[in-house]
Amino acid sequence: MDQKKEKPPVVQKELWVENRLGLHARPVAKIIALAQQFEGTAITLEKDGAKADARNMLSILALDCPQGTRLVVKAVGPQAREAAAVISGLFARKFGET
């Protein structure tokens, strides 16, 4: 099989919502601000099969992620690795909340 073009890198990471209030508006705003820096890389958040675009506040809010929720971030594109790392870092720091 010939490789017509190189497949873009795909990176997936498991995330846990650890801040007390869950993925409410402020944390989501931070996710969006970060996601917007990686133009050309598709970033999605998945919860139990439901997906949300990491640049779309309402779809992330609609995933309904209180504290303790497990998510998977999936990044596809040239900066997939960096994007996934930066987003998972944000989760690990609990979005600067408690």
Binding site: E14, W16, E18, L21, G22, L23, H24, A25, R26, A29, I32, D53, N56, M57, L58, S59, L61, A62, D64, C65, P66, G68, R70, T98
Partner: protein
Amino acid sequence: MIQKNRVLQGIGASPGIVLGTAQVLSPREGAQVSVRLLYSPQEVAAEQERFREAVDQTTQELKRLKHEIPRELQEHSHILDLHLIILRDPMLLKETLRLIQEQNLNAERALYQAFQKIKELFQRIGDPYIQGRVQDVEEVYRRLMGQLSGRGSRGLLALGRPAIVVARDLSPAETTQMSASQVLGFITERGGKTSHTAIIANALEIPAVVGLDNATLEIVSGEEIIVDGLTGLVILNPDEGMRRTYAARREEFAEFKAQLAQGCALPAVTSDGRAIRVLANIELPEEVGLALKYGADGVGLYRTEFLYLRQRSLPTEEELFEDYRKVVAAMAPLPVTIRTLDVGGDKFLSPLAYPQEMNPALGLRAIRFSLKERKIFRTQLKAILRASAFGEVRVMFPLISSLRELQEGRQLLEEVKEDLKREGRSFNAGLTVGAMIEVPAAVTLAGLLAQQADFFSIGTNDLIQYALAIDRVNKQVADMYQPLHPAVMRMVQQVVQAGRDAGISVAMCGEMAGEPLYIPVLLGLGVEELSMNALAIPLVKRVIRLISLTEAQEMAHQALTRTTVEEVNDYVTREMDRRFPEIFRFAHSLANHSPI
């Protein structure tokens, strides 16, 4: 003739009392959304352009509002940032443009449909806090509609003179535009104690009543009204007598608040000179700030479960140490009592596969679990010991029910000390070790346990549950969960006596310890250290300062002579009302607020 003193009942959302003139904001328009079909591509393009124009204008408007936010509300300006993000959200923006394009709808109708879809989506959200964000979407929606209709948004700042604002609903953005000098208080039909609006009102110290049905219909602009944010009452057209009553109440409350704020930094000493240590319960390192702010004499209960439950893998020694060190260093030189892991095996997701238990409260949990999973326990003890080099640390084992458990815990601690010595780590070799008394067996054995423990801490939540065989989550029996049950008081008395005989201190760290109503009885029973939610500290300190130990002992004695819990409750409530009328008038309504 105007009726005097008509009383409306809502929910008190921000404490305080104010008398002023009502200013009713008319409900926003927009309930009727016109439908108009577009017939040509030119019309569609023009309609899309009109919508984009409205988005641009709304963007300008939000940016301007953000700019104009009064300084004391700067920290809430993120609400407007949030609205700017929502304004650009594909579910609102792209979807409206799509509906205009594909269904030939006018902009208003397309926007309406896009918004309805979002609303439906949010209705399925289980978490009430996240679901509440639909209010922000609605706010943006309303602004856009206002722009499309050419009316703009309703102005709030133009009150003219200071007034009490009455509205169906106040959006967070509108609330941030209120300045304390113009708005004396506010009343809304919608909203709860935790709404943005309530939070901001608290920050501004403006009295607020929310959830008052039909407020905009019942209250007329220009009417004199009293807002009592403590009780949630609103009084329309108060007569002279009512005004005087409330003016006095307002004075009292102001004085009460001032005293609380002043007093929380001072030590809690009874009027006859007995010092009582008042400490904070915490769960996260970040909560130390709150504990210090409210004048805690230390941390009496540091719950350590969080790090174990939040992630799939077990926390490492370094992670635990880092958290403990932060708390210990921030509190130093004040003491920090760290409670070792208090969970059951079933709480761990992986890597430990314990079966779900029929009866977790009576199952493998707390010290039982730790003694079974020694590796996990050793890691935690190591982290605690290492943190002990940074301040005054005490460790306590939860759910002790036998002497053997206490001995094994201590022995493990000694082994870990040897490990640390080999590793060349510093720690406090004399770390004090306490037993939590929360199982009736431990109460019975208190005399024996006191020989091997450096201190006791009575965990009332579990002790009451086990002693009375009541699961307070079970609605059928929840009202039988009674802290002042004669059996519970006698147990506390017994533990205190055992501690005294052995010369060790006896603390209390359940919810009972933070409830002002119970404080005198607890002092009278001999408890000298109370640990509670930080927010409860100012009030508890105040109660302690107002009573003498002799009086407290008399109250405890009286309470112990009553034979049923009903009689005890009756006696204590009456006695406290008599002794501390001002505290119990306000304490109830302050229960959910930070008092200062």
